[in-house]
Symmetry: C2
Subunit: 343 residues, 2 copies
DNA sequence: CTGAAAGCGCTTACAG
DNA sequence: CTGAAAGCGCTTACAG
């Protein structure tokens, strides 16, 4: 049972492969194929269920109609949903999507990029890891289309879609201040990623603009990659040492989740004893009692913008390395964890 | 800047393309390439950063080293994590993975299968939708490797990896009975998928084996695809009409989530007024106060088993259509939502 | 308006 | 032990 090829179609119609190819690729008009011939070809293609062999097409044109999606963790709410939307949009445009998770590991990320390159993807959407600069620059030099999503690489001008982390953090902090909280703890991770430093800057600016002084000890930074147990115990210790705090700002989703566990263990009630805000929304924050106020990333917008940008670059409607980024505004979703403070 | 090809390597070494090809494909020994030649070739390949053109290889061999993963929703915790593990295992074996979400829509699923077929995937892992039988049978007839995951197709003998839904449901119900709950409500969806009917059967058997009588009105089934608002109002109404219930069994993850919202709205406290169990674990159930007792799907085991099975079929170590399924045992994770009942 | 043919970069049967 | 060559199924420059 052999698959039908263009040759078979051409032979059955007593025409040439060329004609069949022109019809398939929508070049009938430009190439002056008669409407009658065109219809004959189309009908037989449908009847025989012919589909062009993608490998042959790929070999000949050098285009695979495939894009590579490299995220931190496809199993995570944010990236899973980013992936879903990117795939749908790509599909609409005739592209398939390979995916992989870096687990935030440089070596893995590098391997994935190269593996996908060997599979001739036409372009990438990449969630960068910290040491990925060289690898990404190589793509740029070889003129392979890509878009960075969610995080920038410091000192690399390129195409990206990221959240306005500074503004989100500023607004989230400001929300706490407006609600009357005056002694806010900031819990983050040690990271050179711009997103984390932007969040810290936003926090500090908001505190500063409010005329308050921030004590150094109000900031806790946790080693990246610390396990849950360690993280929770560090947060608990931080809480013990800072009994005067009336609110906590968690700089990432998972710190927020672990922080809530830590608060439960320390018998600190939300929001009576401590108000809580976190960056990144998820189901948990929405459904917990009390629900948690967050700076939410507009997943759909970020995903759509990134795949659209990549497709424009692939189609040469936009230049690579043009430093044409999109900065998406986060949304502050006010919930029950930050009621106006009773003085 | 042209990519280096086997031809370039061969020319530079004054040898033939054949020799280079044999070395690349690990056939040196079988084909009697001398170790010296082999080393020369390998060294130059490394030096020139040569990578075989996958399109050419694919065209020639008919193998793409790609598998297609079709799930219900990659953005969902269960499938996202299934995808992650499948991708890692596939990668280890030299395969890339295309993915797509069906959103449980038959037409989408059919299109995806065909789209991937045109991209010549070597095999599929598929979360079936209800009306996918014919399409899947076609794959079988054409001898295209595939494995069904998470759900069976009724009356279709094939390769699959599913959860033992009956047993999980039986055990979860039994746990409630053992803890002293005697009037258990079962909340599910209308579905012809075997998984849902197995869960209902498990529930009914456990009730029956306990010697209790079940009143019909203790079962609520919700139209598949109902939105959150509708679902919550249906559950609320059900609770109002069945004031005598002391426990609820949610047959899926998302029903559990919505059910908890409904309980909150109705001011019914968990677990004081009502014990709760749900099928499918997730972060929320673990972190809620109180945490929720669940029948958990061993995600890693299911993912690993399915990709291993698919690779065996692709490598012809196992026959397709052999009806060789793997039925994975769910784990009952007892948490705070089901304390022993105070009589 | 349409066709014959080169060539994309591999793998492998065949020849020596 | 190694090489010359066919052929996978397309696209497209060229010829008519």
């Amino acid at each position: 049972m052999k698959k039908v090829s263009m040759k078979d179609i051409a032979k059955e119609l007593n025409t040439s492969i060329t004609t069949v190819s022109f019809v398939i690729n929508g070049k009938s008009e430009a190439m002056g194929i008669s409407p009658a011939t065109e219809k004959k070809v189309r009908d037989l293609i449908k009847k025989r269920e012919f589909n062009p062999n993608s490998a042959a097409r790929m070999l000949r044109t050098g285009k695979s109609k495939t894009i590579g999606l490299i995220v931190e963790d496809i199993g995570n709410f944010f990236f899973g949903n980013i992936a879903k939307i990117i795939e749908i949009e790509a599909n609409k445009n005739g592209y398939n999507v390979f995916f992989s998770s870096t687990e935030n590991n440089d070596e893995t990320a590098k391997k994935l990029i190269n593996k996908m390159r060997n599979s001739s993807v036409d372009g990438y959407i990449i969630t960068a890891t910290q040491g990925l600069k060289e690898e990404v620059m190589k793509l740029g030099k070889e003129n392979i289309p890509f878009v960075l999503i969610d995080r920038l690489i410091p000192d690399l001008e390129t195409n990206y879609v990221i959240l306005d982390n500074y503004q989100g953090s500023y607004n989230l902090t400001n929300h706490l201040i407006e609600r009357g909280y005056s002694n806010i703890g900031f819990i983050s991770i040690y990271s050179e990623m711009s997103m984390m430093s932007e969040r810290e800057k936003g926090f500090l600016s908001a505190i500063n603009d409010s005329g308050k002084e921030l004590e150094d000890k109000n900031i806790l930074k946790i080693e990246f990659g610390s396990n849950e147990e360690k993280t929770i115990s560090l947060i608990s210790e931080f809480l013990r040492k800072n009994q005067n705090l009336d609110a906590l700002f968690f700089a990432t989703n998972y710190l927020g989740v672990m922080g809530i566990e830590a608060l439960q263990k320390c018998k600190i009630r939300i929001p009576q004893d401590m108000a809580i805000v976190s960056f990144d929304d998820n189901d948990l924050f929405r459904l917990l009692t009390p629900s948690i106020t967050v700076a939410s990333q507009p997943i759909k917008e970020m995903a759509t913008k990134s795949i659209e940008m990549l497709l424009r670059i692939i189609k040469k409607e936009q230049r690579l390395n043009e430093n044409k980024g999109q900065i998406i505004k986060p949304e502050i979703i006010v919930r029950d964890s930050t009621p106006p403070k009773i003085q």
